[in-house]
């Protein structure tokens, strides 16, 4: 299969309302841009923790990236291994298929994974290797699924890569297995990657309301549980941008209803849990959810009190993508923090609409990346804090701006009710740290006035 072209996706409807803007905008040459489709595909699939993930290409793609993402596992760690075919110039000339074949055999023989995902990269896509065929014959030979992921970097952005990975799941994984008899069937969580263990907080909540998770797609997932994802009763799409297409396809193939939701902020969390129960069509469950969310919200608002006092009226610039761009706004609003600037370059039309629903008129939209653009907003809008991803963190430090990491490198879990508390705590710590005062005040000998007064 040729890598799917971006415009094939562009013409495809996304969600219930077809997005008007191109879903995956092309990066502009000469600007600092984010990750590639290969990166995006890995984001989606690496959290399948017991599978092996083999990168077929030169050392660049794997050597620069293995094990640098905070997606946590409660058990197996095979997914943490950096497997690569490490193509060299002679492989480029004579073809790397043999190397790929032998790599697959080696991994199967040594690590006995339930499945192997094989990723194409710019180079192997360009040299026109028939990766699909190699994977197919390998799967027959070794008796476990070997799944080609055709998402080389040059087809586009990270988001497109997420979707291509979703495609691979649809084509090769979902529907190929059946749950053990007696497995309670419930909800698939789609597009939740268990960064900093967020998935576990969510699962804990769902369990308290008696809702079971059928398949995690893919935070802390096991390969097998995704094979029976088609037996779930409801799909919840947590990251709308990336895997909405997957949910839509599952609806049409298997009749599983889906909804988009988030777990950032108490309101969003409550909404998501209610929606699950509602779509499960189970009155008793709905009542349980109501009781649970009421109790949790009440407790949260109690616990939040001291933080609210400190955070009220604080101004933040939020620079992140996809679902977080609007759902984190909800969480911040609950804490009394005003969002005065928000990044929209990775947001869909839907996301932007949701942002607009949540912020006031004097919020600035930041459509394009680049550190200077974000900094300008922070300054002009007199923001107190910047909430963004790791690549912008050190820029914020240079400018002495309090900062919170919200993207995949973060080490704090912000989902669910407890997540709101953690967020409140992190915000307060970041804002209140004495280092800002230290940084802002000149050395004693540079201060005005006589020495004894300084």
């Amino acid at each position: 299969m040729d890598p799917v072209r971006q415009d094939e996706f562009d013409s495809e409807a996304c969600g219930s309302i077809a997005p008007k803007a191109k879903p995956c905008p092309r990066p502009k040459p000469g600007e600092a841009a984010g990750g590639c489709s290969f990166d995006g595909a890995q984001i989606t699939l690496l959290p399948i923790m017991d599978a092996a993930h083999l990168v077929h290409g030169p050392i660049a793609c794997a050597g620069n990236s293995w094990e640098s993402r905070g997606t946590l596992s409660s058990g197996p760690s095979l997914s943490q291994y950096g497997f690569a075919t490490d193509l060299t110039d002679s492989d480029i000339i004579f073809g790397g298929e043999k190397k790929l074949k032998e790599s697959i055999d080696y991994i199967a023989g040594r690590f006995a994974p339930p499945a192997i995902f094989v990723y194409s990269t710019c180079v192997t896509a360009l040299t026109g290797e028939d990766m699909d065929a190699v994977c197919k014959t390998a799967a027959e030979r070794i008796g476990i699924p070997v799944i080609p992921v055709n998402s080389p970097g040059f087809v586009g952005s990270k988001n497109l890569g997420n979707r291509l990975a979703g495609d691979a799941l649809l084509q090769y994984v979902i529907g190929t297995g059946e749950p053990e008899p007696g497995t309670p069937l419930g909800v698939n969580l789609i597009g939740e990657y268990n960064i900093a263990g967020e998935m576990w907080d969510i699962e804990k909540l769902m369990n308290s309301a008696g809702i079971s998770v059928t398949s995690r797609i893919t935070g802390d997932a096991r390969y097998k549980e995704i094979t029976w994802a088609h037996r779930a009763k409801v799909n919840m799409v947590v990251c709308s941008r990336a895997l909405l297409g997957l949910a839509r396809e599952m609806e049409s193939r298997y009749g599983i209803p889906y909804f988009e939701g988030s777990f950032y902020g108490a309101k969003e969390t409550t909404y998501s849990l209610r929606q699950m129960a509602y779509l499960m069509n189970d009155r008793e469950m709905e009542r349980r959810v109501d009781r649970l969310t009421e109790r949790e919200e009440a407790r949260l608002s109690q616990d939040l009190r001291p933080y609210r006092k400190l955070l009220k009226g604080k101004r933040a610039v939020l620079y992140t993508g996809g679902v977080k761009s609007w759902s984190v706004i909800s969480a911040l609003k609950e804490l009394g923090v005003q969002v005065v600037g928000v990044g929209t370059n990775k947001s869909t039309e839907d996301d932007v609409r949701r942002i607009a629903d949540r912020v006031g008129d004097d919020t600035e939209y930041i459509p394009e990346g680049g550190a200077s653009r974000i900094l300008k907003t922070v300054k002009e809008r007199k923001a107190d804090i910047m909430i963004a991803g790791g690549r912008n963190m050190y820029v914020a430090m240079k400018e002495q701006i309090p900062f919170i990491d919200i993207n995949q490198e973060r080490h704090k879990a912000y989902a669910g009710y407890e997540g709101v508390l953690r967020l409140a705590k992190e915000l307060t710590y970041s804002l209140a740290n004495p280092v800002w005062k230290l940084a802002a005040s000149p050395a004693p000998w540079d201060r005005e006035g006589p020495a004894y007064e300084r």
Binding site: P29, A60, C122, S157, Y394, K425
Partner: protein, 519 residues
């Protein structure tokens, strides 16, 4: 709010709760189709000599690589020059990786852009991307020079940088004079160190050629008094400072060719700039007239050295990373020889102090078995340091060690160095191997200490060997790169890092009888 009033459990403590332990047990049924016993057997097998042999016969797959690709090194090299924007010709992902990778190591922003090639560039070539990219980036980031390197994608489709840059000038996107240096750095050849070399050579040869200056090395008078110094792919900003200190003590004039320490160690002033420090562009062509060149990473800087000794016709002294007393001695001798200046008394005194420190610690170091992973020049330095302190290098892995300088291969030099001391008698040097090989080595023939980058932490943990983080990348510790590891001061830093790790281990493993206050 100054103290934590909440009791929110993180997942380390949360998962110790009974119900999660239970849950984890339940999950096992679909993790792998084998019993606990089988798992234990497989794990034991993976530690066996039999498996090690298989592992070492592995040809076609790399598991847990310990090298990055060429363009990553080029980006670092470009940041060593004043107001220079690294520009990566390829698809966007590579550049995003380089920026995160370098930023995670240095904890500083990395300004670097890419041509963001997409599938039409793959079909029709990347010229338009390059021209648009040049126009956009020069307008946005206002660099004084752009330094372009390729990635594998651009190389596979065969883009011709030189003619593309020429076309950008013809189109008026950049002026005729605007400096644009470039180099070719496919990721399927070499590693980050060869890419570093390619860009340094690309920049200095470009600036030299366009200046019209003719090299008259060592000709004295106005421009010929300086010494050129190259540090190479240098993950320690502290090493730049240490080198300046040493050269300052000699009271010699010098030019550091490629100094990215400014970019990766800038002060918090409240204002972010894209470019900090770096070698002045006008100093580069002048460097052709220097007294001579001192290179501190001879395997890394192979092509650059060839260029300097060839085209500039300059005397060159090429060392490996000067670690330890002997390594630093060699460095000082080289400076002394190239400049004709005596070694300053202050450095002799410092040497004495550090030798004293080594003596203080030697009982804890003697006979300690060590595993080493790193780039070739770093490894030569580390091996030397281990041997002079009585530590015994046992396993040495150099993934990108397939390089030679003046026809001496890294492996041969390392082995000769090891053979020169009884403490090196047990060592084996493996080039082209990865960290999964190292895991086998650590599990089969255990050591007291592992030295390497953060990536080594997985193997070290499996083998329950403490890890001292030295090299690149170090993601999971803060500020290591700010402390020099070269020179006598660097030797002292290395020593305290290592000896204190050993002492900590002594304490940790001691329940009672030998738990002492004084060590």
């Amino acid at each position: 709010m100054s103290k934590d009033e909440l009791n929110i459990k993180d997942n380390t403590s949360l998962f110790k709760e009974e119900r999660y332990v239970q849950q984890r047990e339940n999950k096992k049924q679909f993790e792998a189709p084998c019993s606990e016993q089988e798992t234990a057997e497989a794990l034991a097998y993976s530690k066996s000599a039999e498996y090690m042999e298989k592992n070492f016969n592995r040809q076609n797959v790399v598991i847990n690589p310990h090298k990055a690709c060429q363009p990553l090194g080029s980006v670092m090299a470009a940041l060593g020059f004043e107001k220079t924007l690294p520009f990566v010709h390829g698809s966007q992902g590579c550049n995003a990786y380089f920026r995160s990778h370098l930023s995670r190591h240095f904890k500083e922003p990395t300004p670097s852009v890419s041509t963001s090639m997409t599938e039409d560039a793959a079909v029709f070539g990347g010229m338009n991307n390059l021209i648009d990219g040049l126009e956009n980036s020069v307008a946005l980031y206002k660099p004084e020079m752009v330094a372009i390197c390729t990635t594998c994608m651009a190389e596979v489709i065969g883009d011709d940088l030189n003619s593309f840059i020429g076309n950008a000038r013809i189109k008026g996107v950049i002026s005729e004079e605007y400096p644009v240096a470039y180099c070719n750095t496919p990721s399927f050849v070499g590693s980050h160190i060869t890419g570093y070399d390619a860009m340094i050579k690309g920049i200095i040869s470009y600036l030299y050629t366009r200046s019209g200056i003719e090299s008259k090395p060592g000709s004295g008078a106005e421009s010929g008094e300086k010494l050129n110094v190259l540090l190479g792919f240098e993950p320690y900003t502290g090493n730049f400072a240490e080198m300046r200190k040493i050269l300052g003590a000699f009271d010699t004039q010098y030019t550091l060719l490629g100094d990215h320490s400014g970019n990766y160690d800038s002060p918090a002033t409240g204002e972010y700039e894209y470019y900090y420090g770096g070698t002045k562009l006008e100093d580069v062509p002048q460097a052709a007239n220097a007294l001579g060149t001192l290179s501190l990473q001879k395997y890394t800087l192979k092509k650059t050295q060839e260029y300097i000794s060839g085209t500039w016709n300059q005397q060159i002294t090429a060392l490996s990373t000067p670690l330890g007393i002997k390594g630093t001695d060699k460095l000082l001798e080289a400076v002394s020889e190239l400049t004709g200046l005596p070694v300053p008394a202050s450095l002799s005194e410092e040497r004495g102090r550090v030798v004293d420190a080594l003596m203080d610690s030697h009982p804890y170091l003697h006979g300690k078995r060590v595993a080493l992973v790193g780039d070739p020049d770093l490894l030569i330095g580390l091996i030397g340091f281990c041997l002079e302190t009585g530590m015994e290098p046992v396993h040495i892995i150099c993934s990108n060690g397939d390089v030679d300088y003046n026809e001496v291969k890294f492996k041969d030099e390392a082995e000769a160095l090891l053979a020169s001391s009884p403490y090196g008698s047990e060592a084996a040097v493996h080039v082209g191997k990865d960290l999964w090989h190292m895991r086998s080595l650590l599990l089969n023939d255990s050591v007291d200490l592992a030295i390497g980058s953060s990536h080594l932490k997985f193997a070290a943990k499996d083998a329950e060997v403490p890890l001292v983080r030295i090299g690149f990348p170090i993601f999971d510790r803060h500020h290591m790169h700010r402390y020099p590891i070269i020179g006598y001061q660097g030797t002292l830093n290395l020593l305290s890092l290592i000896v204190n790790t050993i002492l900590q281990q002594l304490d940790d493993n001691n329940s009672g009888f030998n738990f002492e206050l004084v060590r």
